[in-house]
């Protein structure tokens, strides 16, 4: 015997009877139980009433199910608010003895510890950094000279982006690609004394990739560029950047890989920043995205600094790091982003 569903809208209470296949012997007993349940349900008038093992998803009618779900949400929200108020009161009452406030969990808090995180006093790392390809720069032997170019046939946006990059990075020269092969370009650059080669790759009239190659047999990094904002798209921007050498800020490059990438960026800029110019270029790493910003700052007093954003802004995401100059077929890759291995956890970052 199947029992039909009954609806008692008047009391604000929707009574649901479970579908049962009742044997005729126990029919009488079942009826009694049902009646008891009904009675208890009608008595409790606080909001919606539910028999014990019941979930909203069992209701087949969509409108009713939705209504029940909304009610459930309301209940939960109320409970949460009450809990909060109670806690606040307790905290007030206890005063100093209250338990300390809990720190909310953030992705940065919950980040899986990376074994390659650099300890500042690590000798091995210090030794490596003293002898790697950038040691020449960091020992103040060479000054950077950057060549910026694009992929074949760049469109307007990419060209303008290259020009603006050239104003941001000092000693930068922009050259058109004109179908030249990178492998032929690189020896020529070396012979003319360039230390960096930047190739902006373009797709569908928009820059989307960056190859940063440190020239005398240095590492080659391949990035994905996203959210490029050119100078005229900036809100409240200042005048064009001057010829002064900007300062560099590198934030959050914590692992070994992050360190090497950070040094790559640092070696783009000359050693002695001209503080008179009050310009600062920032590379900020957050969750494997590197945000680039270019600001002009002014100190209002010793506790406040005002900043005005000039210059283009873009974000980079590292795709691969290859030892040696650009050679995609036979190069030795130090690090390649493999999506299925590396993107499986939301709390694991590599830079």
């Amino acid at each position: 015997i199947r029992r039909d569903r009954e609806e008692n809208i008047g009391g604000g209470c929707i009574i649901f009877k479970l579908k049962q296949k009742v044997k005729p012997d126990e029919a009488a007993v079942q009826e009694m139980d049902q009646a008891e349940i009904e009675v208890t349900e009608t008595k409790s008038e606080s909001g919606a009433c539910f028999p014990p093992t019941f979930s909203v998803s069992e209701i087949k009618n969509k409108q009713r199910r939705h209504a029940m779900f909304l009610k459930l949400k309301e209940e939960k929200r109320k409970q949460k608010l009450e809990l909060k108020k109670k806690k606040k009161k307790e905290r007030k009452v206890l005063g100093d003895q209250a338990p300390p406030k809990e720190v909310p969990k953030t992705i940065e808090n919950q980040r899986i510890y990376d074994e390659t995180t650099v300890n500042p006093e690590d000798e091995e790392v210090a030794f490596d950094e003293g002898t790697d390809e950038f040691s020449a720069y960091f020992n103040q032997l060479t000054n950077p000279k950057v060549l910026i170019t694009t992929s074949d046939r760049p469109r307007g946006r990419t060209v303008r982006f290259c020009e603006q990059l050239a104003t941001v990075v000092p000693h930068a020269h922009v050259y058109y690609r004109r179908g030249l092969a990178l492998k032929r370009v690189i020896p020529q650059c070396i012979s003319r004394g360039f230390t960096y080669l930047m190739v902006i790759n373009e797709d569908r009239k928009v820059p989307n990739g960056l190859i940063l190659c440190h020239l005398p047999d240095g590492p080659t990094a391949h990035f994905k560029i996203s959210s490029v904002r050119l100078r005229k798209e900036m809100k409240r921007r200042g005048k064009d950047p001057t010829e002064h050498v900007p300062e560099v800020i590198l934030n959050n490059f914590s692992t070994r890989l992050g360190h090497s990438i950070g040094r790559m960026f640092a070696a783009l800029f000359p050693h002695d920043p001209q503080f008179v110019g009050r310009q600062v270029a920032t590379f900020h790493n957050q969750r494997d995205f590197i945000f680039f910003r270019f600001h002009r700052y002014i100190f209002k007093n010793e506790k406040k600094v005002g900043m005005q954003e000039l210059g283009p802004r873009f974000t980079l995401k590292l795709r691969s790091l290859q030892k040696g100059t650009f050679d995609s077929k036979f190069g030795e890759y130090e690090w390649v982003h493999k999506r299925h291995e590396m993107d499986s956890s939301r709390r694991k970052f590599h830079l």
Partner: protein, 300 residues
């Protein structure tokens, strides 16, 4: 017997041929031995017992010929002649092999050879240039990355981070003497240090012994009135000091009044204020102020 017309009737214009591909305006022939690629009475390799084609294999061109004598031997039906790499020589070879053949087939063979030679040249040129590798983007992945980037940007709080870094650098002194602020910072640091030291030593320090000269019980000042000049001298010096104090007080009060009232007055004499002075010989000092003091009532 080879009945070409019968064959063409069977497969030709509106009939079915498995090599035929029909579009709205044209019929194409997918047979690999077809000379023109179209489905015609003269181009059909099945409906022509005497037929020739030029085909290319791994960069070399070959001339294929079919004659009616070999129609019964399908395995040997097509005669394959390797053509010279040199275009002109290959043309001559075609002429020589197809000497008494119909003009249509000869002409089409040469045209086909020309086309093949041209595309072979283009292939060779392209392989010398850089080959661009197209990497497909997965839409799902792109969307996911975009979202993650937005969230990362919010979490980064870039402006705050940069400002903090700049202020840290200022405190550390990397900017040297360009800004004047470091003095304040230095002073503050010093004050903090002093406070710390004071708070440490406050308990231990004894109060400094202050010496004070106190008069006797029976002592009265009037007993010392012998020296009137001394008094005068004292008085005048006192008066000067008092006048200075007065002026200071006046200035302060005037400043207060200036703040309260903002009436402009070019010059004003500073009125005497303060308690009524003893009638001693005194010098009245007037101060003219070029700032705009408020209107005051002169008290004489």
């Amino acid at each position: 017997m080879q009945h070409d017309d019968v064959i063409w009737d069977l497969i030709g214009n509106d009939s079915f041929c498995s090599y035929k591909v029909k579009t709205k305006t044209q019929r194409f022939c997918r047979n690999e031995y077809n000379l023109t690629g179209l489905c015609n009475r003269s181009s059909c390799p099945l409906a022509n017992s005497q037929y020739a084609t030029v085909r290319e294999e791994k960069g070399r061109c070959y001339l294929y010929m079919k004659v009616v004598e070999r129609a019964a031997f399908p395995a040997r039906m097509w005669e394959k002649v390797k053509l010279d790499r040199n275009y002109a020589k290959a043309l001559e070879q075609i002429d020589e092999n197809l000497m008494y053949w119909p003009q249509f087939i000869r002409h089409k063979c040469k045209q086909r050879l020309t086309k093949i030679a041209q595309y072979l040249i283009r292939i060779r040129k392209l392989t010398l240039k850089r080959q661009r590798k197209l990497v497909p983007l997965s839409r799902k992945v792109e969307r996911r990355e975009k979202r993650r980037e937005e969230k990362a940007l919010i979490a980064a709080q870039l402006e705050n981070a940069i400002e903090k870094e700049l202020l840290d650098r200022l405190k550390q002194g990397t900017y040297g003497d360009i800004y004047n602020f470091p003095i304040h910072a230095f002073n503050k640091a010093m004050e903090k240090q002093e406070e710390e030291t004071e708070s440490e030593e406050a308990e231990d320090e004894e109060e400094p012994v202050t010496r004070e000269f106190v008069a006797d019980d029976e002592f009265e000042e009037s007993d010392l009135s012998d020296f009137e000049d001394m008094n005068n001298l004292k008085g005048s010096s006192d008066e000067e000091e008092d006048a200075e104090e007065e002026s200071r007080e006046e200035e302060e009060s005037e400043e207060e009044l200036e703040e309260e009232k903002t009436k402009a007055q070019s010059k004003g004499k500073a009125p005497l204020k303060g308690p009524i002075r003893k009638k001693r010989a005194y010098v009245e000092i007037e101060y003219e102020q070029e700032t705009e003091p408020a209107q005051k009532s002169k008290a004489t």
